[in-house]
Homo-oligomer: 147 residues x 2
Amino acid sequence: MKKDSRLSSVLHALLHMAEQGKPITSEVLAKCMCTNPVVVRRTMGLLRNAGLVTSERGHAGGWRINAELSKVTLFDLHDALGEPAFFAIGNRNENPNCLVEQSVNAALDDTLAQAEALLIARFKSVTLAQLAAEFARRHAKYRQQKD
Amino acid sequence: MKKDSRLSSVLHALLHMAEQGKPITSEVLAKCMCTNPVVVRRTMGLLRNAGLVTSERGHAGGWRINAELSKVTLFDLHDALGEPAFFAIGNRNENPNCLVEQSVNAALDDTLAQAEALLIARFKSVTLAQLAAEFARRHAKYRQQKD
DNA sequence: CTTCATGTAACTATTGTAGTTACGATTCGT
DNA sequence: ACGAATCGTAACTACAATAGTTACATGAAG
């Protein structure tokens, strides 16, 4: 299956929006992410439903962040996107009668649950503010190398 | 995307094969897993390529385990299946020029890498023998409840 | 009232497993 | 030698979810 890159997308968009004070249009975000404005609206719309961003139509319209960067975590974004599945592997049959299959499912479920718990814990611990700071570091280093 | 259930499938098949001394046909395995013999052959063929099972054609043919149960781990099976992707989420663009996107990718990559390391460690620590033992426990309990 | 934007529906493209059909290639029993 | 049982494999369809595209409606600002 094709990987879901929406979390990656919205993080990219949100950090660019954080840099700018004014609203950014779907058109600009789309160009910046090598895609189409409709895809941007569709994805950002999920964040709007969750109250994390606002959108305005017409002249000087666009998208704006509606939350403190230090209070929005990757988990919040993943949640706003509808909690897409983390894993590309899973059980063949979730409710088997076969005891063999039940044992197999239990073993895989247990392992995946641990990995998911780790992912969720990490997602909850990373904020937009931290990512913005990390970007600032990269940016400073880049400018330094350029000189 | 549809989840990859091949690891689950081959575990189920291998444990049934371990129970039986003689070869099991694709037909029987298929029935047991509610699928088609061709799907079984296709998937089990990957294990044969890795030397974990053997197949024989003709009368009294079928599939047989070709390894010690205590030496085959979930990792070995995942490897034999061609190391399918663990995750259903990922970066939009793996080699971006944009420094913002690089920061985002680095953060996600780091988190996913940790979860993947955990999965791999667990997969390496679980053997077919352990799963067979776990099944035996379930089986005993089930027979006890039935009495 | 025109232009700039978002909102949204509808359709296609993509990607990989799963399922199905068909047929070829072996092996064994008689 | 024949025929049935099995695997081997190609080719095609089904499916599911995101991504991409086209088209058009809606609303806000000048």
